[in-house]
Amino acid sequence: MIKITNLRKSYNGVDAVKIDHLELHPGEVIGLVGNNGAGKTTLFRLLLDLIRRNEGEILSKGNSITQSEDWKSYTAAYIDEGFLIDYLTPEEFFYFVGKLNQLSKADVDDFLSSYHVFFDEAILNKGKYIRDFSKGNQFKIGIIAALLGNPELLILDEPFANLDPSTQLRLVDMIKSMAMERKMCIIVSSHDINHVSEVSSRILLMEKGSIIKDIVGGESAYAEMVDYFKIR
């Protein structure tokens, strides 16, 4: 799915991201952990070609993401409010994103009704622009919009931090089943090592821009992370 070689991004001579080699595969749920400033969000932005890398190459399905724009058709992301068009109502935003993914209005409506549990009735038909929603609800809107195009690669930056407990638990289930059933590749960053070890099949631990641990998710991963973060 994604192949990174010799990737380097530095600000004022300090490496923000430095990854020699990394491959991500379909069906993997990758948990990205690390303290503030480890380079998680920078890595996400690099994956989406939102910042210019200093060196290296990122291939998505074999194509360089800077040369071709094909990756946009199967990649979706939600990093922050910068991914929402805040003067639209949620419905308008969904139809807009849907349209860009060749979905008709009816398709979008079908899709939304299948996710109505996730919404919790807090989003649709509220008569508000996105900018007037709370941060947590904006996050829900962003995640749903990202799922709209049925992506093969999904990138979520700290999804658990802004969601209410019920939605967090639902999201954990959703991510697991999407990776299993649709063979999606999902990358999630989080400070919540509990959720991460539960949801991820593979965990990448970042420190000062580099990936220092690449471990299999689950109980043992949780213990390993606790050991790591305790002494820091």
Binding site: R45, L48, D49, L50, I51, R52, E69, K72, S73, T75, A76, A77, I79, D80, E81, G82, F83, L84, I85, D86, Y87, L88, T89, E91, E92, Y95, F96, V97, K99, L100, N101, G127, K128, Y129, D132, G149
Partner: protein, 491 residues
């Protein structure tokens, strides 16, 4: 915690705001610009008494001056609706601090007084009072007269804020006042009732009995207290910011046929109509359509075709230069999203061009009614239109790829220089004065039709080769894409 601490914070906020870190050149240009405005207004204030004496030597200048004051204050109130904003958000961080509410109220009210609209009248009042009023009525009366006028300014200031806070729909009130002023003026004009005379005798009474200046002072105090009372019971963030209407989803069905590009245009239209700053710019463009009535007759009479062409450029192309100066910056708050949604840059740029083409064509069609004034205007406006869509639109898109400044959509447009850089000044020079000069030269040396043809041709060429031009623009955009993104992320 007293008022000076709040004001000090505001002062720091002003100088440390992100867009205060503009390049020195821009700051100097802006400084000169402000300075010129102030000088001009002061010059008007000083010249006014002499002008009045010269033009109407038989009539006492004071009685003329005072007869218009009623209109001055009414129109001032109207202008305030548009130009003045409620200072509400700035108290947010203090609400949870150990600060008495009464201090915050005072701060809100005092802070709001620091607005250029309250200082400008002084430049008109003071010279007149010193030059004309003081010699004939004496310094005490002149001073009281000044106090009265200034109190009325303050009165207008707080009245406007009070109305703005109370009424949700300012637009209706705006039009009500507008109609009211028109009605007064109409009655004056038809000599049914003379409000000018009433205004004049009212203010001259104050000059004769200076103690009466306490009445406007009292009015100002009353409205100030009213404001305080209202604020005191409504000092919650959600209540300070008006507007709680239910928003409706809209769908521009006529754009659906254009596919993804139509969707992008619809997005731009929603952006314009749902955000303060682009909305006021576009309303301005619509008002500019009326410029023809003001300027065309004059230059038609003298046969000055290049000036006609210059104004035709403004009338048909104002949307391109007004909206286009921040083409990508309008979307700066969600540009990360725009660059990751499932659409490509070619489509994105093409949608911008299509938007220009659509609106510009609309402006051209409406402006064609000026053809009733003289048939000459039709070829002139056609040439201007072709130049605008075929050349200016592309130039504007190209220049926009150099604009890396974030823009806050919710701030109002007047005197707002956020996001303006040297490029914008240069751009407006290129797209209006350049073609006007070409037209002038061709008209002068070759003749009218050569001039029309001369500026139309590049426009037609631009339209014919629009695909390849767009491809080139996309490559330019790609080169600077990361820089734009980085700039927009810096708020």
């Amino acid at each position: 915690m007293n008022l000076s601490v709040f004001l000090n914070h505001q002062w720091l906020n002003f100088w440390r705001a992100r867009n205060a870190n503009k390049s020195l050149a821009i700051q100097i240009i802006l400084g000169v610009f402000y300075f010129l405005i102030f000088i001009e207004i002061a010059a008007i204030g000083i010249a006014l008494p002499f002008l009045l004496k010269e033009k109407m030597p038989n009539i006492n200048p004071i009685s003329i001056y005072t007869s218009y004051l009623i209109y001055y204050f009414l129109i001032g109130l109207l202008a305030r609706f548009q130009l003045q904003e409620l200072p509400s958000i700035s108290i947010q961080p203090y609400l949870s601090q150990n600060v008495h509410r009464i201090y915050m109220l005072r701060f809100l009210n005092v802070r709001s007084l620091f607005h250029y609209i309250n200082f400008l009248p002084l430049f008109v009042f003071i010279p007149f009072i010193i030059i004309v009023v003081a010699p004939s009525y004496g310094p005490t009366a002149a001073f009281c007269f000044f106090i009265a006028l200034f109190s009325l300014v303050i009165n207008n200031h707080f009245l406007n804020m009070y109305i703005k806070r109370k009424t949700i729909n300012n637009a209706w009130f705006f039009f009500a006042v507008l109609v009211f002023i028109a009605a007064l003026k109409g009655l004056d004009y038809l000599k049914i009732l003379s409000f000018e005379k009433a205004s004049s005798s009212l203010f001259i009474t104050i000059l004769n009995y200076p103690i009466l200046c306490l009445i406007p002072v009292a009015m100002a105090i009353v409205i100030f207290i009213k404001n305080n009372q209202y604020l005191k019971s409504h000092l919650y963030i959600e209540e300070l910011v008006s507007e709680n209407k239910k928003k409706e989803s809209k769908n521009f069905t006529f754009l659906n046929r254009l596919g993804d590009i139509g969707e992008m245009i619809a997005l731009d239209l929603k952006l314009i109509f749902r955000n303060k700053r682009p909305k006021s710019l576009v309303v301005l463009s619509a008002v500019l359509l009326l410029y023809g009535f003001l300027f065309y007759p004059k230059y038609l009479a003298t046969g000055n075709y290049s000036m006609l062409f210059f104004f035709a450029l403004m009338i048909t192309g104002i949307f391109i230069s007004n909206y286009g100066q921040f083409l990508f910056s309008w979307q700066s708050s969600h540009f990360d999203g725009m660059m990751t949604y499932n659409t490509n840059m070619h489509q994105y740029i093409k949608a911008k061009f299509s938007l220009f083409l659509t609106v510009c064509s609309l402006q051209f069609l409406i402006a064609s009614f000026y053809g009733l004034m003289s048939w000459r205007l039709l070829p002139i406006q056609l040439a201007a239109y072709l130049y605008c869509v075929g050349v200016n639109s592309f130039v504007t898109i190209y220049v926009s790829t150099f604009n890396y400044r974030y823009l806050d959509l919710r701030k109002s447009a007047s005197m707002n220089f956020q996001g303006i850089g040297a490029m914008q000044w240069l751009q407006s020079l290129i797209i209006t004065f350049g073609p006007a000069l070409v037209f002038y030269l061709l008209d002068h040396f070759a003749g009218f039709w050569y001039a029309v043809l001369g500026v139309s041709l590049p426009g037609v060429a631009g339209l014919v080769f629009h695909e390849s031009i767009i491809n080139w623009l996309v490559s330019q955009f790609k080169i600077r894409k990361h820089k734009i993104l980085e700039g927009f992320r810096e708020r």
